[in-house]
Symmetry: C2
Subunit: 219 residues, 2 copies
Amino acid sequence: MKKAVCIISGGMDSALAAFIAKKEGNEIVALHFNYGQRTQKKELECFEKIADALGAKKVVLDTFFIKEIGASSLVDTSLKVRTGGLEDGVPNTYVPYRNGIFISIAAALAEKEGAQSLYLGVMEEDSSGYPDCTESFIKRIENAVNEGTKKETNIAIRTPLVHMTKGDIVKEALLLGVPLEFTWSCYINEDKACGVCDSCRLRVRGFKNAGAEDMIPYA
Amino acid sequence: MKKAVCIISGGMDSALAAFIAKKEGNEIVALHFNYGQRTQKKELECFEKIADALGAKKVVLDTFFIKEIGASSLVDTSLKVRTGGLEDGVPNTYVPYRNGIFISIAAALAEKEGAQSLYLGVMEEDSSGYPDCTESFIKRIENAVNEGTKKETNIAIRTPLVHMTKGDIVKEALLLGVPLEFTWSCYINEDKACGVCDSCRLRVRGFKNAGAEDMIPYA
C-alpha cells in the first residue's frame, strides 16, 4: 500500500487534504506540530480527532524554536492579531517560513517512513497572503527535497486545495465526510471562535458560500 | 553593516565558513542546533567558543524531533557508527534531510533578523556522501527559501567550502585564525576523538594533507 505523510494542523484545509490522501488510496501518517502558537492545545485536540477519524498513525513533534524565533503575532502575544478585516499584503500572523520548516521536517519523516507523498492543505486564492502557501513555492521546495534526500527517496508534494476557495473546501469536506466540527480555525481563542480574526473570517465566508452550517461555537 | 546567519555545528567546516563570513564584512548571528546527537554536549561547548571568538550573537535552538524521527546512527544509539573506513554511498550517519531542516530554520531566523545571507560549511568533494551537502541541493533550497519568504526578504546561501578538500580547509582555517583546537569532528566520543569514524578519518587526512598538527586529543 502506498503511504503519505499528511501535515494536519487541526484546521479545515489540512483535514480535507488528508481525507483526499486517504481517498486516493494512501495509508496515512498524520503529522502535527506544537510550536507555542496561541491555540496550541485546541489544535492538538482537533488533530487527534481528525487523525483518529482517518485511522492514521499519529506523530506529534515539538518545534518550540518557532516561538523562540518569534516575529509573528501567532506566537508572540505582545503583538496583536488583527480583527478589523482582511487586507492585502502579508499580515503579522505570518510565521517566518513556517511551511518551509514544516515541509522539511515532514520530508525527513517521509524519507524514514518510505512514504511516496506528502499532503498539505495550503491554498493560494482565498488565503491570508502568506508567501509559503503558494504553488510556486511548493514546486521549488519539492525540487529541493528530492535533491537533498537519498536517490531512492522520491516525495511528491500534493496540495489538492491550492486553487480552491474556502467555499469549495467546505463543500468538498462535507462530501468526503471530514468531521468539520472537530476542526479549529480561530487564531486567538480555544473555547469559542472569535469570528473576527482573518482565519475566522475566511472560515465564516467559506461556510456561507457553501450554504452550510458551522457547528463550532462562536463568541 | 550587513548581517549573516552562520550555522555553526562545532566542527571545522562551519567554523571556517563563519570566519569567512566575518572576513567578508558581516555582523554574525551564530546559530547552533541541539538535536540529541551523540556528541551534543561537546558540540555545544565548541559552538560557544567559536561564536565567542567571532564576537557573534549566539542563538541555540533545540530540535529534538530529529532524534525522535531517528533513522540515523548519530541520534539512534542502537545503530552502530561505522569505524572500518570510508566507503562510497550514503552511510548510516546520514540524518534524513538534516541540512534542509537546518537551512529552513536558519532562513526563518535570517528573515526575522533582516540578514542578507546564510553561511554553511557544507563540502561536496571530500565529504561523507550526504545528499543534503551538495551545491545542486543548496541552489534549489535557496530558490525555495526566497520564494517562500516575504518579497523584501532576500537571502543568499553561501557555501564557500563546497568545492574545497579537507586539506584546503585546514590550511585556510589556519590562515584566518580559526581556533581549530576548539572544534570537534568525532561522531562518537566527547572526550578523546575516536580517530576511526568517517568524520575523524576525514579530519585526520585533512591535517595530514595540510601538513599541520591537530591539537585535539585522540584515543
